[in-house]
Structures are given as C-alpha cells and as structure tokens.
Amino acid sequence: MSEMLIQVQGLYYHYPDGTAALEDVSFTIHRGEKVGLIGPNGAGKSTLLLHLNGILRSSSGQITIDGLPLTERSLRQIRAQVGLVFQNPDDQLFSTYVHQDVAFGPLHMGLPDAEVERRVEQALEAVGMRGAAGRISFHLSGGEKKRIAIATVLSMQPKILILDEPSSGLDPRGRRSLIQLLASFTDQTLLISTHDMRLAYDLCSRVIVLDEGKIAADGPAADLLTDAILMERHGLESVGHV
C-alpha cells in the first residue's frame, strides 16, 4: 500500500445548536489518489472538508495529515499542505487583483519574494490563466474565477488539493474545461466534494458517500456510481453505463 496522506479517525462534530453534523467518520486517503466525496445537501460534506485543515475543530476524533497529527501547534504547517478551494470563488478571491490573491498563500508561508513570484507564475500557468495576474478579480467570468481560485491554492504547492463543489455555477463548457484541468493534475492527490456524478465518475477512482454525517459507502467509483439503488437511497443519481 502506498503512503497514507490523510487519516481521519472517529471524527464527530456538532453544530453550535447541538445538531450532529458528523458522526464517527473514518477514512484514509493515499498519496496520488483521486477521491470523490458525494452525498445529498446537508450531508456534512463541507463540514468535513473544513475539518481537514483545521478551520473547524471537533472535540473527538483524530486527523493526521502526512503523518502529522492536526493540533493547535501544527495548524499552520497543515494548512500549507492541505489546499482548500471553496465553493464560491467570490469568497476565495478577496483581493483586488488576481496577483495578490495567488500570492497570498505563499507570502503567508514566509517564502522570499522571488519565490513567491515564481509560484504565482507557475500556478497561473497550471490553470491556463497566464497573463491574468494584473486583472481585477471582480471582472473575471465565473469559469475564470474558478480557475484563479484553484491557482490561489496551487501556488502553495499543497500535498493534497481539496475542492468543494467545483462545478457549481459553471456552464457546460466551463464545467468541461474544469474537468480537463483537474484531470491534468496527474500526480496531485485530490479530494472533490460534488453533486456532479459525471464529474466524480470522470475524475475519481474512488468515492466516499456521506449521508446524515455518516459514511454510507466507500469504494471504487465505477462500482458505487453505477449502483442505482445505493445512489437513490442517498438522494443521488447513478451514472448510466458508458
């Protein structure tokens, strides 16, 4: 078995009002794996993702990233390794210019200016947005914003890239080109939360089904996503045979 990159063990989380959001969630993701996290609205997908880099902290359960247990002290180290792309790019792109946003992560990692510039260039290149550094984030189209949002995280060169609903709000062409973009990250470990079964099917080798805060299934994408009964039981749709 290859190296374990993410280990989650017995994770519980309750919303401030007491509602259970995550109950005894455990899974492991290995280096280079591409995993889809699927489940109906309110299943706890986003909540789970926010735990993986310590934005939300649970009272019980253990998260280990590349051998490093997530604690108050390791928080900043872990955030450099776990790149989280939020669902709404308007939340992710908070600077005026694209360049500032892509440079934000590397600057906070304390990298020297020259290295920051190099990484900004690389990240923009990787998402096919070379030359966009001087543009104003607000003026970008939805698809472009998505790409830049991914670049803001790629510039930190994280060990794992986590995307929350990457295809939401994109038109078919934007969605297609996003899938191609994500497919081009061959060595990158990916965890993608989505309702887009087709996207999960095209990109992921494995899927985890989350429903009502519990893991309902975990297995090869080709098996789970085509299992009509399983998908329907969890408010999802199966991918037709191809």
Binding site: I55, V82, F86, N88, D91, F94, T96, G105, F138
Partner: protein, 263 residues
C-alpha cells in the same frame, strides 16, 4: 453620484501616473494642507492654486474641465460653513430674513467654497492617476495602521459584490411587484417600508455570512492576523524628485499670499 468608483482609468503612462505612489500621496496631502491654510484674503492666490492643480491635470492627461466638474462633488459639504456668513464680525452687507451678512463672513464663506473645491480636485486627481492598490500600499508604507488599510481594501473588493447582491434582491422584489388588474397596487407605505427594512437586514446577514466565509478562506491559506505583501521597492531620490516641482509651485504661491496679498 457624479463620481463613480468604477470609472477609474489609472492605467496611463504620463509622468503623473509614473510618479511613485508614496511621493504622490505625500505631495497631494501637502497640496491640500497648503490650499486649506491659504490666507482667506489672498484672493490672487486662488486662481494661481487652480492653475497649479490644472497644470497637474494636464500632465496627467485628465481633462481640466472634467476635473473641475468632479471637484464640485464635495461642495454640498461646504454648506456647513453657511452660518459663517452671519456669525463672522465685520461690515454689514445685506440682511436676509433678519440675519445680517458681513463682508468678512462672505469672504470666509467664499474662500471655504473655493478651497474645498480645489482640495477635492487634488484628491480626485490623485485617485484618477494612481491604481487603488498602489494607493493603499502607499498609505501603509507611510505608517497608516494596517487594519485600516485592510478594511479599506476589503471595502473596495466587496463593494461591487455587495452591489450585485443588492441588485438581485431588488430584482426579486420588482419581479413580484405586480399591479392588480383593477385598483391601485403597491400596498401601504408602512408595509413597503417593512419590506425595504427586511431587505436591508437580509443584505446585512448575507454580508456577515460572506465575511465569515472569506475569513475561513484566508485562514485556509495560512492567514494569522498579519497581512503580508511583496515589499515595495525603496523610494529613491530620483523617483521622488519630480514630485518636488508642484511643491515648489505651492511654496511660491503661499509665500506671495502671505507677504503681498494678505494686506
């Protein structure tokens, strides 16, 4: 609003655009202070100050008349000085509704109008020839607390997003604000006011939630309370020198105003 934040050219290649933003900010502040401190009786100084501002506008390829028009945006605030007309002791000129206008009061009021018009032009010229982020960077390197600079930059970033959000709310209301086939629609004013109040509250909640998501996105990328940016290049004498020219002009005008025209 006459002065729209969205119409911001800022990408020219004139000497004014090229001047280091830190120097530009300092020059602009000094010009404004100089204009404000001009003795009110030194009437010949005002056209000269305007000529100074206008020549800067020409250098920056901002239309002189356009700038003059934009400069009027702050005039309503100068009306706060209206009471000076009546309260400043001096020779009575006229009586309006039982209140007496003095000559000294008139002079003071007019000079305030002119000064605020000129000072506004200077700051608009600065904002038209400097990209907003450069301006923020200049503020920060001149020692303005980072928190204030940060708040301003977020304001600039999200004012459009917020505006879009408000537009969507308005559209949602408009598309359901149908009139009945017979009779007058629209509801009572008290009900309409409640709807508007609800919309404002809604906008506030949406913004608060957004700010929490933005903050989470910052944390996810390692934010620890301190904003970092790529260090600006050091300010050299060569870069700062052209900024001294308008200051020289200002000094000449102010010296004349104090020595000759202040009689």
């Amino acid at each position: 609003m006459q002065f729209n934040v969205k119409d911001r050219p800022s990408m020219g290649d004139t000497p004014l655009h090229a001047l280091d933003p830190r120097m530009k900010l300092v020059v602009a502040v000094l010009l404004i202070v100089g204009i404000v401190l001009t003795p009110e009786r030194a009437l010949p100084a005002y056209p000269l100050l305007w000529a100074l501002v206008a020549s800067l506008a020409v250098i920056g390829r901002v239309g002189v008349w356009r700038l003059a028009r934009l400069g009027t945006v702050a005039l309503p605030f100068a009306l706060a000085g209206l009471t000076l007309l009546f309260t400043t002791p001096g020779q009575p000129l006229a009586t309006v509704g039982g209140l007496t206008i003095s000559d000294a009061g008139l002079l003071r009021f007019v000079s305030i109008l002119i000064k605020s018009w000129l000072a506004t032009q200077v700051s608009i010229l600065l904002s038209l020839t400097t990209p907003f982020t450069d301006l923020l960077g200049a503020l920060e390197s001149l020692g303005i607390p980072q928190t204030l600079v940060l708040i301003t930059s977020f304001l600039y970033r999200y004012v459009f997003t917020l505006n879009d959000e408000a537009d969507r709310l308005r559209q949602a209301r408009a598309s359901r604000s149908a009139a009945p086939t017979y009779g007058r629609g629209g509801g009572r004013w008290w009900w309409r006011a409640q709807v508007a109040g609800g919309m404002i509250g809604n906008l506030f909640l949406r913004s608060t939630e957004r700010s929490e998501r933005v903050y989470a996105a910052m944390l996810a990328r390692g934010f620890s309370g301190q904003m970092r940016a790529i260090a600006p290049p050091p300010l050299t004498w060569r870069a700062a020198l052209p900024g001294l020219l308008p200051l020289l002009g200002l000094i000449v005008i102010e010296v004349l105003a104090r020595l000759w025209w202040n009689g």
